[in-house]
Amino acid sequence: MNRICFHFQISQPFRLRTYRFFDINQEHDYFDEYQNHYLAQRLAERCYLPANKMMLELIKRYPDNFKLSFSISGSSIMLFKNYCPEVIDSFKKLLATGCVEITGSTYTHSIASLHGKDAFLEQVRLQEKLLKETFDVKPVSFCNTEVIYSDEIGEWLGEAGYQVVLTEGARHILGWKSPQYLYCNPYQTDVKLLLRSYRLCDDITLRFNDRSWDQYPLTAEKYLRFLDNTKSSSDAPFINLFWDYETIGEHYTEDTGIFDFFRSLVARLAAHPNYSFITPKEVLDMDISPATMHAPWPISCSGEEKDTNEWIGNVLQQEAFNQLFKLEDLYKSSKNEAAKLSWLRLQGADHFNFMSSKWFGHRFVKRNFEVYSSPYQAFINYMNVLNDIKIQLEKKK
């Protein structure tokens, strides 16, 4: 029996407006309300609402055989609350079926875990609070921003009470080992790790509509064959498939057949005697002893390298990152809630993504909404905002 774990990540950021030097200490509305409104609604219409509807139908059709999990960043939840509350309702309906798990995540799709424990756990704590308020759930599994993970991050999460962590099946960490087994943190063996089978995920994320791929067109039948082929032996129990939820309907619009693909895939898997669906926390009820996995340096789902260079690779990103977390003490002492929230939002991976030169000339699916003409423009704008936030945090100590 193979367990399939479907997990979808939702991490829409609050995008920044063009914030000029002259605005510093004058204007404190850093976010592009029009853009944020427009994109949230567009994504709701094209992806979240129809995809949730589809998932709900599938759960109803296969009540005992289909389960899935989500991680929804705090910023996404706030965007939904502001601009399309019906998305929240549709998630509540999914949760009510009992077949859906919502995992913990960061509050603002933050990369704070690359900085330090305090800043990271602050994000985790705020997200827990928001999940409690919104969905009345208390997560025990965790999916970090871009599944960033290291031994240290795993330990922090263990201390915060998490028992299952989702991360990447990074080849340079695993070596000869397979991502399809259960692993645990070497220092906190209570923290179980589910590793993403990224080749299988990328077959959809990157290649679903790629006419130059020799497997094009991808059908559910063919994908099932891929799943069958990856089983090294029958005791390799897990196939963990994590995607951005926007893959369904936004990165691949409805007319590419992505919805039908998932419908058909779930139908085949649900009917198949060798497969059953699980959600991350169900791992805890299983009597499987995990192997340890060492991740001395942070890994992520980025590119082929599975490292963190996409966010703090170049000198601009490193500078922005350093300047950002220099304000951590100010954040702790400040009473200016608006500025504090803005500071949290500036930790979002997307802001750093815009400053990346890693993908120069190579449009990656994740960067569909390009707003800056260059990484340099992104850096200037970000720093202008950050400098104002600093002044605001300092003011009302």
Binding site: N25, E319, S374, I380, I391
Partner: protein
């Protein structure tokens, strides 16, 4: 005295200091009783014509069949292509045209010989073509106009000036606002531009340079006889607009305003900022402008880890420039090579003390400015620190500086120019 003047731009549509200087100069000449007809490739129609008559070269029809035209431009190809309408004629297409011309077929296809050239404003992608077309139009204008003397500003207009001289036989004065040595540096000279500059200076009866610095370059690098090269410093167009001193932040602000190019020394500004910030973190540095060194500068600032104290505004114009001056406590111009450099004067008029490099023409006329070598970042940092921390010093510079600038009048510059004109007309 009537002067036919060739320029490239004129306020309010300007991209650099050249247009402003032309405006000031023509106005000054008018006050000295000199009538100027100002020709430019593309006039917008909203230029201030109180002191000068503007002629738009785009409106001028030229007759390619005339004897003068054939004599002056024997090799000109009569393909009237508005380059901006079909910007990318492929090479094949181009050679087709050339080959047909050789066989004499193509000429037959043109209706008549009269045509107009429509110039784009500014500095388009086909600048060289525009420069040559401008010369053709200039010849036509020189035939129509009545004048005593021709005056051409910067290399773009030299060919026009020469053409006008050939048509009319009147003396030519060329005016050097910047040389190729300033723009590109000694080792990256553009041969064609250098050639055109030399051609213009050699053909001219008198050469005006905006500073002694530039005059020396003209004499030494272009081999022009010293006796026909005159220094004519720039001045400032008076303005009654009051710059409001208003700051958004508590820290002192040190500003660099200009193109972010090699010539302007923006990298020295960054290194200076680091030096000052080591002593006093309560200063903000602002780099206002854009240019080909921008990426390099941003990376350097990030590398030094001072981006919480070093800001970029991008290219500024009009009201934003005034706003910037209104916020500044010190203005720095660390130019490596600056023929004149008018922006420190604008800063001083806004009561902002200035630190300027000795390698700038404006250093020759200013008393109330701190002058340093562009490469001496310690001295520059020292000067900035002094101006920020010793109010007596900065107040002196602010007050005296404003007074000094207000005494730099275009009227006086024009008076000197008139003397040069008179000398030239007497062929002394």
């Amino acid at each position: 005295m009537k002067v036919l003047m060739f320029g490239w731009e004129f306020p309010p549509h300007i991209s650099g200091g050249l247009g402003t200087a032309c405006y000031g100069l023509t106005k000054g000449l008018a006050l000295n009783g000199v009538q100027v007809t100002f020709v430019m490739p593309h006039a917008f129609g909203d230029e201030d014509e109180n002191y000068v008559r503007i002629r738009n070269a785009s409106d001028v029809e030229i007759d390619t069949s005339s004897a003068i035209y054939r004599e002056l431009f024997p090799n000109a190809t009569f393909i009237q292509v508005n380059s901006r309408l079909i910007p990318y004629v492929g090479l094949d297409g181009y050679y087709n045209v050339i080959n047909q011309m050789g066989s004499g077929i193509l000429e037959q296809e043109f209706e008549g010989s009269r045509r107009k050239h429509t110039f784009a404003s500014g500095y388009g992608p086909n600048l060289m073509q525009d420069v040559n077309l401008y010369a053709q139009v200039a010849a036509e204008i020189a035939k129509q106009e009545d004048f005593d003397l021709i005056h051409a500003h910067d290399w773009l207009t030299y060919r026009a000036g020469i053409a006008a001289k050939k048509v009319s036989g009147k003396p030519l004065v060329v005016h050097i606002h910047a040389t190729e040595f300033d723009r590109s540096g000694e080792h990256n000279l553009n041969d064609i531009v250098y050639g055109m500059e030399r051609e213009g200076m050699s053909a001219a009866d008198a050469v005006c340079a905006v500073s002694d610095l530039t005059r020396n370059i003209v004499i030494e690098k272009y081999g022009i006889p010293a006796e026909k090269v005159f220094t004519l410093h720039n001045a400032v167009v008076p303005s009654d607009k009051k710059i409001v001193r208003k700051k958004n932040v508590n820290e002192k602000i040190v500003t660099f305003l200009g193109r972010v190019t090699f010539q302007k020394g923006p990298d020295y500004f960054v290194e200076t900022a680091l030096r000052v910030l080591e002593k006093d973190p309560d200063v903000r540095f602002v780099l206002a402008g854009d240019g080909d060194m921008m990426q390099h500068i941003i990376e350097r600032v990030a590398e030094l880890g001072i981006s919480d104290r070093f800001h970029f505004t991008g290219f500024l114009r009009g009201a934003d420039i005034d706003k910037m001056f209104g916020m500044s406590d010190v203005y720095v111009m660390p130019s490596i090579s600056e023929p004149f450099g008018i922006s420190p004067l604008e800063a001083m008029r806004a009561k902002v003390p200035v630190v300027i490099s000795k390698q700038s023409g404006v250093a020759e006329v200013l008393q109330h400015a701190i002058k340093v070598d562009f490469w001496d970042i310690d001295a520059t940092a020292d000067a900035i620190y002094g101006l920020l921390h010793y109010p007596a010093l900065s107040k002196l510079f602010a007050d005296k500086g404003e007074e000094e600038v207000n005494n730099l009048k275009w009227e006086n510059v024009a008076k000197k120019l008139k003397v040069i004109y008179e000398k030239t007309l007497r062929y002394e």
